[in-house]
């Protein structure tokens, strides 16, 4: 039985660019913006980096393939740079690479940096992802909102939630994220919205309206990791360490085998179970202080709260309507605004989630600072409900 990652790796520093429609900045400028904050926070010099992991997803509208863009933008000292891509969970993959490098002892200090420049497409929403040569010849002609929207029809049918109640809970989720995002100066969307606005927004993919969909943003986020010992030797106090880091990928059973009912994420449940075990958490609803989940759409957030075993199955609508996940609730969710309002520069998002958990645990989250959070969790998802990559990461004080 593998020993796991718990307490073996510490976060030395983190940085995050302003997210949004960064018309004035290219990916290279966003990389520098996030990195400069991280390296300053870490208190090291670039020459101390041993290796880097670089995440981008949409290379055709971004920096192209390979790791050169990162190495060149930061004038790295000819160290190894590995570019990773795993759909919208790419940022978590870069972080996993850097953390594993340190845990293995191969590196003392490693960088994970994710960036996405999405607003050079000329249109709203995500660009269509390349699907290879076979899939486009038969796969349903869909978009991300249409794929995720299907959770709603399946969840409603399974748990007997009528369309009006479901739509209202989804609106409530978006209202909460907008309220949180309004307190985050780096967020893409910083305006509060009302439930009525959310309910009446233009339809994108039944039943998801415009306000059920996250922002499509430019941005970058960075993490510098090392061992707890090195962190201490560098004078770091209030050290934040990795408690769990799990990834689960679909193997085609949801898509092709008649067992999955379409109302939940099979992979998220597996990643969550493994992460809780790795972190030593047995009662997540009591032990997790706060979390960032992959709220690409309001319905994704809703079912994920159950898949992370925070709300018992079939009850999340009540938790949402009761404010369980609000900023002043028992387990605040998307305290930074989430993908919904902080924004979703794909390759950066997994690291952006960690950035907020890291700031919160260190008590540096400004107006949105929670009261003494100790355990923060991130859930970063790529793909679609029927076939996806689910990442769960838990970090904590000490």
């Amino acid at each position: 039985m593998a020993a796991g990652i718990k307490d073996k790796v510490a976060i030395l520093g983190m940085g995050c660019s302003k997210f949004g429609e960064r018309w004035e900045a290219g990916a290279e400028e966003l990389i520098v913006e996030a990195y400069e904050e991280a390296v300053q926070d870490a208190g090291i010099d670039t020459s101390q980096l041993d290796a880097a992991w670089f995440s981008t997803a949409m290379e055709n509208v971004n920096v192209g393939k390979g790791g050169i863009a990162l190495s060149t933008a930061l004038r790295l000292p000819n160290i190894a740079v590995t570019r990773v891509e795993n759909f919208c969970a790419s940022g978590s993959e870069a972080f996993r690479g850097a953390v594993y490098a340190v845990a293995s002892g191969a590196c003392d200090i490693a960088l994970a940096l994710g960036v996405e420049k999405l607003k050079d497409t000329g249109y709203g929403g995500l660009p269509a992802a390349e699907q290879g040569t076979l899939n486009p010849l038969w796969a349903a002609t869909g978009s991300a909102p249409g794929n995720f929207a299907q959770l709603a029809s399946a969840y409603g049918a399974k748990h007997g939630v009528n369309k009006e109640d479901l739509k209202r809970a989804l609106a409530r989720i978006s209202v909460k994220s907008h309220a949180n995002g309004a307190k985050n100066p780096k967020a893409h969307l910083q305006k509060v919205i009302t439930e009525e606005q959310a309910l009446n927004s233009p339809m994108i993919a039944e039943p998801l309206g415009l306000f059920d969909c996250c922002g499509v943003s430019d941005g970058a986020a960075a993490a510098i990791v090392t061992t707890p010992e090195i962190a201490k030797s560098l004078g770091k106090k209030d050290i934040v360490t990795i408690k769990a880091l799990q990834l689960s990928l679909s193997n085609g059973s949801e898509a092709a085998y008649n067992a999955w009912d379409g109302s939940y994420f099979h992979t998220t449940r597996i990643a969550a179970q493994k992460a809780y075990k790795e972190a030593g958490i047995d009662k997540p609803r009591d032990q997790v202080s706060m979390f960032e989940c992959h709220d690409c759409f309001s319905i994704t957030e809703m079912v994920t709260m159950e898949d992370l075993y925070l709300s018992p199955e079939g009850t999340v609508v009540n938790d949402v309507m009761d404010g369980f996940y609000d900023a002043d609730g028992p387990i605040p969710c998307q305290i930074d605004g989430g993908l919904k309002c902080f924004g979703h520069p794909i390759g950066a998002s997994g690291i952006r989630m960690l950035y907020e958990m890291y700031l919160q645990i260190q008590g540096r989250a400004g107006d949105r600072q929670l009261s003494n959070p100790s355990i923060g969790m991130t859930h970063n998802l790529g793909g679609s409900p029927v076939s996806n990559v689910a990442s769960v990461c838990i970090i904590g004080a000490g």
């Binding site: 010849l137 869909g142 909102p145 339809m203 994108i204 039944e206 998801l208 092709a256």
Partner: protein, 481 residues
């Protein structure tokens, strides 16, 4: 005894109301209002001569048809000028590779000419049975008379030596280069000459001699003909032929103008099927004529087998499965008759890797998945390792067709973001009753018509157009039953 042994038909669900066409044009053409009666069939954006042909052949096979030795495909609107169109139909329906195929085209009588060739092959005992399918999706200029009179549709008949429903008695063909209309290579639309000339010099002078010779060859008297199946959109053209030929007015068959419109090369067979479905009686004589740069006249006798014939949807079933379309603009868009702003999302390149299409042709054209010989799980696509988490055996899947598998919707959405010619794009997870599932496009669906649990069947449709290269991708989609 050579003859027609089974038949199947298909008319698209959409019926454009002629009043809607007339409304769009009456500002410029005050006479348009007079043509605004009844309805015409209209392909959905993802239908063409091949997809309709597939449905007609499928209907024929489900109505007592057997796997043929040859497929003859007649159409004047073949989607490919070079790529065997009949081969796409045969692959879609997994008719096997030991098959002779032929595309028959260039004239409105292509359907009857293909049928004649099939009958000749069977009568000469070169082949035991041939599937003849005729299908047309004719384009017409906006505001043209043809826009009112045309329709889209397909019909298939199987020709064989045993168990004929219609015994072939004989035929006569005349070939004259009479150009009532033409469409040059690379042109989008037909160019027509004056209707009165076409009627008087064409129909009235070319068809009666052919009828006379066919009657003479078969020894049938004109007034013994019970049913005269002859399409014509020009007023009183058929009546004039009947009068000249000594046929009876009672024999004139419904041209389906009110409910369908003229389906081009398919129409003689579409009308024939409509007659058979309406209850042609054993012993009756049927005369079938196709007109176009001459004329084919075929004579058949209805046999006792007609009472045993198994009927699928056919033409009458297809005509009953209708949706009134009153949006003329939609007709223009579906037929590529307007320059439409499709948005940047439509700019993506849809180049098809022909190597992949060939390697996976049974999957992509034939909807062939797999069934595990170890655990019995049906699955799509067919891969080397079984998808069942309790099995995962390697190299144990045998081909398994999903074409006739029924299923239901597990999850769905109506998507306004993704580009489609008919928004919103409907798609979702289909769970098949006998195992297997996949995320599928839905078609022939309007907003509010589907939900979790809706019953679904699969149909062969256009998946995507590659505008840059003139290629068409086909695949299967779900439609509510």
């Amino acid at each position: 005894m050579a003859g027609i042994t089974s038949f199947g038909g298909y008319i698209p669900k959409l019926r454009l109301q002629r009043a809607s066409i007339a409304d769009a044009h009456k500002w410029a053409d005050p006479g348009a209002a007079g043509k605004g009666k009844g309805e015409r069939s209209m392909c959905n954006w993802d239908e063409d001569a091949i997809t309709m042909g597939v449905e007609a052949v499928r209907d024929c096979l489900n109505s007592g048809g057997v796997k043929p030795e040859a497929v003859y495909f007649a159409s004047t609107t073949l989607p490919f000028q070079e790529r065997q169109n009949a081969g796409i139909i045969s692959t879609a329906l997994s008719l096997g590779e030991d098959l002779s195929v032929l595309d028959v085209t260039s004239s409105q009588r292509a359907g009857t000419s293909a049928l004649l060739q099939a009958l000749a092959a069977v009568k000469g005992e070169q082949l035991d049975n041939v599937m003849v399918v005729a299908s047309d999706h004719r384009r017409s200029k906006s505001a043209s008379p043809q826009e009112f009179t045309f329709g889209d549709g397909a019909a298939a008949v199987q020709v064989g030596n045993k168990g004929a429903l219609l015994e072939f008695l004989g035929s006569h063909s005349i070939t004259v280069d009479f150009v009532d209309h033409f469409r040059g290579a690379g042109e989008d639309f037909d160019y027509q000459w004056e209707e009165r000339w076409v009627r008087d010099e064409g129909y009235q002078k070319i068809v009666p001699p052919a009828i006379a010779k066919a009657l003479e060859k078969t020894g049938i008297k004109a007034d013994d003909v019970n049913h005269f199946v002859m399409p014509a959109t020009i007023g009183r053209a058929v009546q004039g032929i009947v009068k000249k030929s000594g046929l009876t007015n009672a024999a004139i068959c419904d041209t389906l103008h009110q409910h369908c419109g003229e389906t081009g090369a398919a129409h003689p067979l579409v009308m024939l099927l409509n007659l058979l479905e309406a209850g042609a009686k054993a012993g009756e004589i049927v005369m079938l004529a196709g007109f176009g740069q001459g004329c084919d006249v075929l004579l058949f006798k209805v046999t006792d087998e007609i009472s045993n014939s198994r009927q699928g949807n056919g033409i009458s079933g297809s005509l009953a499965n209708r949706r009134e379309e009153t949006n003329y603009q939609k007709f223009l868009v579906f037929n590529d008759l307007v320059t439409l702003e499709k948005g940047m999302r439509a700019e993506k390149d849809s180049k098809t890797a022909l190597t992949v299409l060939y390697r996976k042709r049974d999957m992509l054209l034939g909807l062939i998945g797999g069934k595990c010989t170890q655990c019995g799980t049906a699955q799509f696509p067919r891969q080397d390792i079984c998808v069942n988490p309790q099995c995962h055996e390697s190299h144990c899947l045998e081909p398994y067709s999903f074409v006739e598998e029924a299923g239901q919707i597990q999850s769905w959405s109506a998507d306004y973001l993704t580009y489609t010619m008919n928004p919103p794009s409907h798609y979702g997870m289909i769970v098949f009753d006998n195992g297997g599932r996949f995320m599928s496009d839905f078609t022939d669906v309007e907003v509010g018509e589907i939900d979790v649990g809706t019953r679904i069947k699969m149909v062969f449709r256009i998946k995507e157009f590659d505008q840059n290269r003139g290629f068409i991708r086909y695949f299967w989609k779900g439609v509510p039953v």
